[in-house]
């Protein structure tokens, strides 16, 4: 038996990442030079002493399945426990897609019960943060809670984007508002829950029998458990946490890695973030290069200028090319003289000679038209072509063309 196991919700499409999730589920989107988003919750689990993780997948699971494999890179290849991919499956009583996050867990009650856990940790696969779930579990036990919800203080102006909790002085949650227009509290739910399993199981079963329910944790389970006057506590988290569900937030979170003032540190040897790596030679910086405030990893070749750039494995930047405030995903190629600013260049995309992609805000007359440019996987932007800010490029662009 296991005291606590984790269930990671990784089925979401991540439609607001557009071109970046055309071929992969959101948790498999590359992040931070050599990671994928899912590496953060998985590494947190292992570093917190949780060695059994179920990953619930549904949307385009192939890349994620292959990436997770037997879980060895995260030390999750265990003879009892370890990491397991849990797609929807056929049962004697029929088969069903996961209808909501709660339904996804409901459909895997059998998996959970194989480990006879006392507690179940529910995680989502679209946040970047480092957190010791062990501390949260201790809090949950101290409070003798039925459910603990990790919360983070957000600016009042942002509360409308989150599920907002109101808690009393002891941390007990008295009220929950989903994306409220107006509220007094600034405690936002991080989508991280610890449940005492026997309680959660009961509420999942009740929810499943409610035909009006969307079978969603935030929308249905949490209000239901609060309405039933169960002991629901807020666990205050301090530190870096970011939802990377949009192009802008994904770009920002990558840039946060480069900002010495932001406490997101992947170099800390005491809390390593693990990933499956391709194993390429060290990166090479050529004689014409100028690299400042950037992250570069194995297999990259840089002979141009980098300023506030995050390069993934095998990205190449040619001579006289410049990459500023941008992200180059694995295998992206920026040819000689091309200029990339405020952009995300997806895997294996090619920006040919002299092309200009994106622009700096200060070089954009109409700031309402400014934003991060995205060039999709494998897209070729022809020599000398121009791609404006905020563009979402999913098809090849011919040489010399202006979009």
């Amino acid at each position: 038996m296991k005291e606590c196991i984790a269930m990671l919700l990784a089925g979401g499409q991540g439609s607001r990442l557009y071109a970046l999730t055309k071929n992969v589920a959101k948790p498999a989107v590359p992040f931070g030079g050599k990671y994928r988003i899912v590496d953060f919750p998985l590494s947190n689990c292992v570093n917190s002493g949780i060695d059994t993780v179920g990953i619930l997948t549904q949307y385009l699971p192939m890349v994620l399945n292959e990436y997770i494999g037997n879980g060895q890179p995260w030390d999750l290849d265990r003879s009892y426990g370890g990491v397991h991919i849990l797609p929807p499956y056929q049962k004697a009583s029929g088969s069903d897609w996961y209808r909501g996050t709660a339904n996804a867990i409901y459909q895997n009650i059998n998996f959970i019960e194989r480990y006879e856990p006392k507690y179940v940790l529910i995680l989502s696969g679209d946040h970047i943060y480092k957190m010791d779930y062990g501390k949260m579990l201790r809090y949950h036990k101290e409070k003798n809670a039925d459910c603990s919800i990790a919360v983070i203080d957000v600016p009042p102006a942002e509360t409308y984007r989150f599920g907002i909790m109101t808690a009393n002085r002891n941390g007990r949650i008295t009220r929950f508002q989903e994306k409220p227009k107006k509220t007094d509290s600034t405690l936002a739910s991080m989508g991280i829950y610890i449940f005492t399993w026997e309680k959660l199981k009961k509420f999942l079963e009740d929810d499943e029998h409610d035909n009006t329910s969307d079978n969603d944790f935030g929308k249905n389970i949490i209000p239901r458990i609060l309405a039933a006057k169960q002991k629901v506590y807020a666990y205050a988290f301090e530190g870096y946490w970011k939802d990377v569900g949009t192009i802008d937030s994904l770009w920002e979170a990558n840039m946060d890695l480069l900002d010495p003032r932001v406490p997101l540190d992947v170099w800390d040897p005491d809390w390593k973030i693990y990933s499956r790596t391709a194993g390429r030679p060290p990166h090479y910086v050529g004689r014409h290069a100028n690299v400042e405030n950037s992250m570069v990893t194995e297999g990259c070749v840089v002979d141009g200028e980098l300023e506030s750039a995050v390069l993934f494995a095998g990205a190449r930047v040619g001579r006289d090319a410049s990459v500023r405030d941008s992200i180059l995903m694995p295998g992206a190629i920026i040819e000689e003289g091309a200029q990339v600013s405020y952009a995300i260049i997806a895997e294996d995309a090619v920006i040919q000679k002299g092309a200009v992609v994106g622009a700096r805000p200060e070089h954009t007359a109409d700031l309402t038209k400014w934003g991060v440019t995205v060039v999709g996987e494998g897209v070729v932007v022809g020599a000398g072509a121009k791609v404006p800010p905020k563009a979402m490029v999913e098809k090849n662009i011919k040489a010399g063309e202006s979009v």
């Binding site: 010495p260 540190d265 290069a289 570069v296 390069l311």
Partner: protein, 386 residues
């Protein structure tokens, strides 16, 4: 033909004698090379890439670091129920030299050789990093009809190699007609790289026969004296190679990887070189970093200047420090304002703030493992200051 019908034997300790500083705590096989590799990664990845499933590593001494590096062999896909990696620690006497020559080493694993089913044995030392296509080598061996195939390169005999080389005289069909031991001639020679392919049964017979006669050296005692009995084919390797035979060659071969095209030549995409994974984060370049013509492995944090240098994993270069023409091994910390030129630092060296170390292009300064040069800096540079 794939390597499935061949097994591999790797000798990690040959050539230790010519690299005293670097093998103080390790074998030639575990010498760090090329930013994130160890010398044994090259033959190991080459063999497994060709489909060889059984590899035995016959160690003589100083093998702790090697065992740590190889583990279960998982990184090379050798952690397998059928076949895989077998490490043979030295047997016999306490402390002393455990075997002399290839023959005695092979004799010590006779049972392993006998119980395998592969018809061929591929043997390799660990002093040369190269991109040898073992599949092509095995094919050439079978096609030639030879008893033994030996790999050689066309190269001059450098000063440091004069006490550790074999050269071949070849006939028109590339069969070896004469072997010269510790050749001293000037000009290009056929220099043995000491990779061999031989029939397993024949190898067993040769080793047994040599042992009873007190012959321990595979080439000098056995093959070179029996070239009529055992036909030896010479297979020329023409690809990129880095032969490590002294401190200077170690230094130069690391820096030679920085010349255009050399990285791609040693690490072609179709034949990847695997090594132990260390889960380091990408390299962090700070705002004032200046880096030219260098290669850097993951986990480094650069706040100063680096030019024409190879930095291994997890190196820290402090603010205002200048690293030029250097090979800086894993975990080295260079304090703020330190200036290093023509220096090789072994693992986990600490260079204090403002220290100056300068070697010559033909004679690098070597700083031994775990040494501290000058006063250690205040807490190590970190990527993020809180």
């Amino acid at each position: 033909m794939t390597g499935k019908d061949a097994m591999g034997i790797i000798f990690p300790n040959f050539h230790d004698a010519s690299l005293p500083e670097l093998v103080d705590h390790r074998t030639t096989a575990s010498i760090p090379f090329g930013g994130r590799y160890r010398m044994i990664d090259f033959p190991l990845s080459g063999m497994t890439g060709a489909g060889i499933r059984n590899i035995g590593v016959i160690v003589r001494e100083n093998y702790q670091s090697l065992m740590g590096h190889l583990g279960s062999g998982r990184e090379w896909d050798l952690s397998s129920k059928r076949g895989g990696l077998t490490i043979f620690p030295p047997f016999g006497r306490e402390g002393g030299v455990e075997y002399r020559g290839r023959i005695q080493g092979l004799a010590s694993v006779m049972q392993y050789l006998q119980e395998k089913r592969e018809s061929l044995v591929v043997m390799s030392d660990c002093n040369i990093a190269c991109d040898l296509d073992y599949r092509a080598l095995i094919e050439a061996h079978l096609e030639s009809g030879a008893d033994v195939t030996a790999v050689y390169e066309r190269a001059p005999i450098k000063e440091g190699m004069q006490n550790d080389n074999y050269t071949f005289r070849l006939d028109a069909e590339h069969f070896v007609k004469e072997v010269r031991i510790n050749d001293y001639r000037k000009g290009m020679q056929n220099v043995s790289m000491e990779f061999y392919v031989i029939g397993r049964e024949l190898l067993i017979a040769i080793v047994k026969e040599a042992m009873v006669r007190g012959h321990y050296n595979f080439i000098a005692d056995v093959l070179s004296k029996n070239l009529k009995k055992y036909k030896m084919f010479g297979y020329e390797y023409t690809g990129y190679r880095a032969r490590i035979y002294d401190m200077r060659s170690y230094f130069e071969e690391n820096l030679r990887l920085l010349e255009t095209g050399n990285l791609d030549a040693l690490f072609p995409e179709e034949r990847p070189v695997y090594t132990k994974v260390r889960d380091e984060a990408p390299v962090r370049y700070a705002i004032d970093a200046k880096v030219f013509k260098s290669m850097l492995a993951d986990g480094c944090i650069i706040e100063g200047e680096v030019e024409h240098s190879v930095l291994f994993r997890g190196v820290r270069v402090g603010k205002g420090a200048v690293i030029k023409d250097c090979v800086i091994m894993q975990g080295t910390q260079i304090g703020p304002g330190a200036v290093l030129q023509n220096v090789v630092t072994d693992k986990n060296v600490v260079v204090g703030p403002g220290q100056h170390l300068t070697g010559a292009a033909n004679f690098p300064v070597f700083v031994g493992k775990n040494s501290t040069v000058g006063a250690p800096p205040a807490p190590a540079a970190t990527a993020k200051k809180e």
